[in-house]
Symmetry: none
Subunit: 227 residues, 2 copies
């Protein structure tokens, strides 16, 4: 699960953020001071850090700087202050984004997902499994994993094979026949089988399955996976 660390001294706000993040399917951790947050992050790194600016002891700016010294984690400032100076200073200190309180949880998570698209490639130490990326979609044939905006998506074996086949020919049309032959090994068979599985796959990997962005139909030609 994706973990988020919230560094915020106001207990009420911190708690509210933690609960909201958990509702959204994140593993949320809290810290009341920059020191505590830094320690937590060193001990057990989260995937994102949300940080307030006005903190007792080490303030947010300094906290960001120290965090950045040895961590590439995406940092989002969540502050009540809506001042250009603060925004610029926080971003210069190494923050990736800055939102003003009160913030809608949906906006916050959307910003986290947007950051993840960018942060993906900066995973240096992690196991080097080839990953095919299509916008917010990631397919790792080797690892047998599919992710949308970083969160794993459960697909069945057939769906996975189908997806890999399409991913490995990214941007190219594959006819139902080709898919039937490559995924199922059928030289002959009902092409509607492909439709059904594509439909099911769409339900899982597309944000709006009715308007597919990545797994698109080319009427009369076949299917194709695109960015």
């Amino acid at each position: 699960m994706t973990a988020v660390l919230v560094i915020e001294d106001d207990d009420r706000i911190r708690l509210a953020l933690l609960l909201a993040l958990e509702d959204e399917g994140y593993e949320a951790r809290g810290a009341a001071t920059a020191e505590e947050g830094l320690r937590s992050q060193r001990r057990d790194p989260a995937d994102y850090v949300l940080v307030d600016l006005m903190l007792p002891g080490i303030d947010g700016f300094e906290g960001i700087r120290q965090l950045r010294r040895d961590d590439d984690v995406p940092i989002v400032v969540v502050s009540a202050r809506d001042d250009t100076h603060d925004i610029v200073a926080a971003l210069e200190a190494g923050a990736d984004d800055y939102v003003v309180k009160p913030v809608a949880i949906k906006e916050l998570t959307a910003r986290l997902r947007a950051l993840r698209r960018r942060a993906r490639t900066v995973a240096p130490v992690e196991e080097s499994v080839p990953v095919l990326a299509f916008g917010e979609l990631e397919v790792s044939p080797e690892a047998g994993e599919v992710r949308r905006s970083g969160t794993p998506v459960a697909v069945t074996r057939t769906e996975f094979r189908l997806l890999c086949e399409l991913a490995e020919h990214a941007g190219r049309v594959l006819s139902r026949q080709q898919l039937l032959s490559r995924v199922w090994g059928y030289d002959t068979g009902d092409e509607r089988l492909v439709d059904v599985h594509v439909g099911r796959l769409r339900q899982k990997i597309e944000l709006d399955p009715a308007n597919p962005r990545h797994l698109v139909t080319l009427r009369g030609l076949g299917y194709k996976l695109q960015r």
Copy 2:
């Protein structure tokens, strides 16, 4: 120099942004519509794109989506609308950041710098799909795609086959008989059928279908596709 493309239909705002960006040492370019912006970006890619949401023709959301299909450039939405829905939708569409007008130029540039730190150094695996070009017209048989000035054009299967056939014999005349045989597999049949489909194709791919520049008729001979 770092180039920024500003897609914004309000002349005053666009100009103000362009001037402010130039003051900050960027090379700034403007576009009044999404179509124009997409074209500009294809022709001569900028390092960042700023885009408004409310645009005539293709709106900002769709513009972002189309841009993202084949470009990894950092995109920042600059909109007057401060609504969670819009923010989430824009980020999901592929934008990297969202700021609300009016925006301080210092904040904007700070956000651009923050984005640059994250901007992908290595593009994700992406084999290029072969494309046949005829001026502003592009045909990609493998991808099942047709574009005019970079924007995708929806054509039907028969139209697509017809176009591919003509594209693969670029510059040479193909008689109605030849087309009938190669596209439809008819040894015999009504040659008017070809006319109709050529006509429909023209409506879609020619800027001025009445005066075709690429898909031309050679009276008494047949049709030909030229650049």
